[in-house]
């Protein structure tokens, strides 16, 4: 730990890494709450994996992969949203198909690009230690956008998640709000890809919110605690992984999993205690 603190004071890349973790925790704490309460984890996974197609294509064309990630994440969010709302096809089948086709497209473009592309692998598995200043600025603006949109549409997102039919009766533009929510989830996924990679992104999107849901009674409390849990796991995970040179993304997720299990244990013990009191 001393080595980590020493490095944190001296190395800018580590400071960027922790800042990126903080920003990612804010976005995933907010949108992750909606993913958990609306129970759309599979849908989030579909969007995340479709991103590889866009990243691969951008690489192949020599464009910044972030633009590819943006374009594919938002396209996937809109398609999945429309399918969920309008199409007759079973949505899980369509999401599964998009998931697989997105990844397959990415793999084909990786194959077409000559040489082993190490940088592309960081999009698959993430590496918070490689976050550049430019990426940090992008993460900041994305996080600010997510916070601003959720602040404005907080109540509409909530009622649409709670009761779509009632929202429609009350004149809420349910389809637009639902797709906007999916687009925000897509943006969060783009933010998180650099931290844990698109393979593990869904875990960081849902586990802090799931932990928070065990101890909170309102979505706003859930968001706040989810952000705090996210900050703790990304910071601690980076610190733990630093000295033995473990993969940071994977360490963060394992730590998050341990926290989740402990939280379930505490909640269970609390419930048993309450029942005994009665």
């Amino acid at each position: 730990m001393t080595e980590f603190i020493h490095a944190l004071i001296n190395y800018r890349f580590l400071q960027y890494a922790l800042l990126a973790g903080v920003l990612a925790s804010i976005s995933c704490g907010i949108t992750g709450t909606y993913v958990v309460i609306k129970r759309i984890t599979f849908l989030g996974g579909g969007i995340a994996h479709t991103v590889l197609g866009g990243v691969g294509l951008a690489y192949y064309l020599g464009i910044n992969p972030y633009w590819g990630a943006f374009a594919s994440a938002i396209t996937a969010a809109v398609i999945i949203g429309l399918v969920t709302l309008k199409a007759d096809q079973q949505e899980d089948t369509v999401i599964g198909a998009l998931w697989a086709v997105g990844m397959a497209t990415g793999i084909i473009f990786m194959h077409l690009k000559p040489g082993y592309n190490n940088d592309l692998m960081t999009y698959l598995f993430g590496n918070i230690l490689l976050v550049s200043r430019q990426e940090l600025v992008l993460l900041f603006w994305l996080t600010l956008l997510i916070v601003a949109v959720v602040l404005v549409f907080y109540r509409q997102f909530l009622v649409v998640c709670f009761d779509e039919e009632y929202s429609r009766i009350r004149g809420v533009p349910v389809d637009i709000i639902y797709i906007l929510l999916l687009v925000l989830i897509a943006l969060t996924i783009v933010v998180l890809i650099r931290i844990v990679g698109l393979i593990l992104v869904i875990a960081l999107l849902t586990m802090p919110a799931a932990i928070a849901s065990l101890f909170t009674r309102t979505p706003s409390q859930m968001m706040l605690w989810s952000i705090i849990v996210g900050m703790v796991v990304t910071t601690t995970g980076t610190a733990i992984a630093y000295t033995p040179d473990l993969p940071v993304g994977a360490t963060i997720i394992v730590l998050c999993g341990i926290f989740y299990l402990v939280a379930i244990g505490i909640k269970h013990a609390f419930n048993v205690g309450q029942r005994k009191k009665r």
Binding site: Y154, F162, D163, R168, I169, G171, V172, S213, T218
Partner: protein, 243 residues
């Protein structure tokens, strides 16, 4: 003559492969307390969706408060089945009640003082004020139903529409819910759908039997043995009402 608050004229509705409703006509008047009774799949929920303007009829016309259902539904407080909600959704009772005020232009997370006051008054009216801070998911079936009624009342609607308000609750809670609705009927028009004639016949003014086709009668006729009449009258349009 009193103008109906809800009027359906020769309504037909067809899902892709089958008729859900055939030639349904209905008039609901101010201060009516009407129950639509019928088996599962008989078209009760379709009827509610048509009145709420969530779907449009294949044939026929509907008016709510003299206008189209899409406009008229502002005058309706809708109470869906409480069983439709996720059991882990993190909302307090007062949040659920206040969410009844949502509109297309409801921006930012906070509610006005006026909405807080209205929510409190309606929770008090349906006797759930002490539960205001409790989580909605922790409530019993009857308490959830009262919360949803309070949510429907918060916009002060003229009409209340309820979908199976007593499904999955015990008989005591069922009686409580109907007593509450009877109280509300002093100032509101009430239309509810149910698959069970049970207690409902003791409280409502009229019953509409619906099984794709329909027949509406005052409650007094139910109490004087309507079976033969229903069977005879409706058999040609495949309706079998064994009340």
């Amino acid at each position: 003559m009193t103008t109906p608050v809800i009027s359906l004229e020769h309504i037909y509705f067809r899902y892709s492969d089958q008729d859900a409703l055939k030639d349904i006509s209905l008039e609901v008047f101010p201060a009516d307390y009407l129950a639509v009774i019928g088996p599962n799949g008989g078209g009760k929920t379709t009827l509610l969706k048509l009145i709420l303007g969530l779907i449009t009829p294949t044939k026929g016309s509907i008016s709510v408060m003299g206008t189209s259902p899409a406009k008229g539904r502002n005058h309706i407080g809708y109470v869906p089945q409480y069983g439709n909600y996720s059991r882990s959704f993190p909302l307090r009772v007062k949040d659920v009640v206040m969410s009844g005020c949502i509109q297309g232009k409801s921006f930012f997370p906070w509610h006005s003082k006026e909405i807080h006051k209205k929510a409190e008054a309606n929770m008090n009216l349906v006797k759930i004020l002490p539960l205001a801070e409790k989580s909605f998911s922790e409530l019993s079936g009857g308490q959830k139903q009262r919360t949803l009624i309070a949510r429907a009342l918060i916009t002060d609607p003229e009409i209340i529409l309820l979908d199976e308000p007593t499904a999955s609750v015990d008989s005591e809670v069922e009686r409580d819910v109907y007593e509450l609705l009877k109280e509300l009927n002093q100032t509101k028009t009430i239309l509810l759908v149910s698959h069970d004639i049970g207690f409902v016949s003791q409280y409502v003014n009229r019953v509409m039997c619906l099984n794709v086709a329909s027949c509406t009668h005052p409650i007094s006729e139910l109490k004087t043995g309507m079976n033969v009449h229903y069977e005879g009258h409706l058999q040609p349009i495949h309706h079998h009402c064994k009340l």
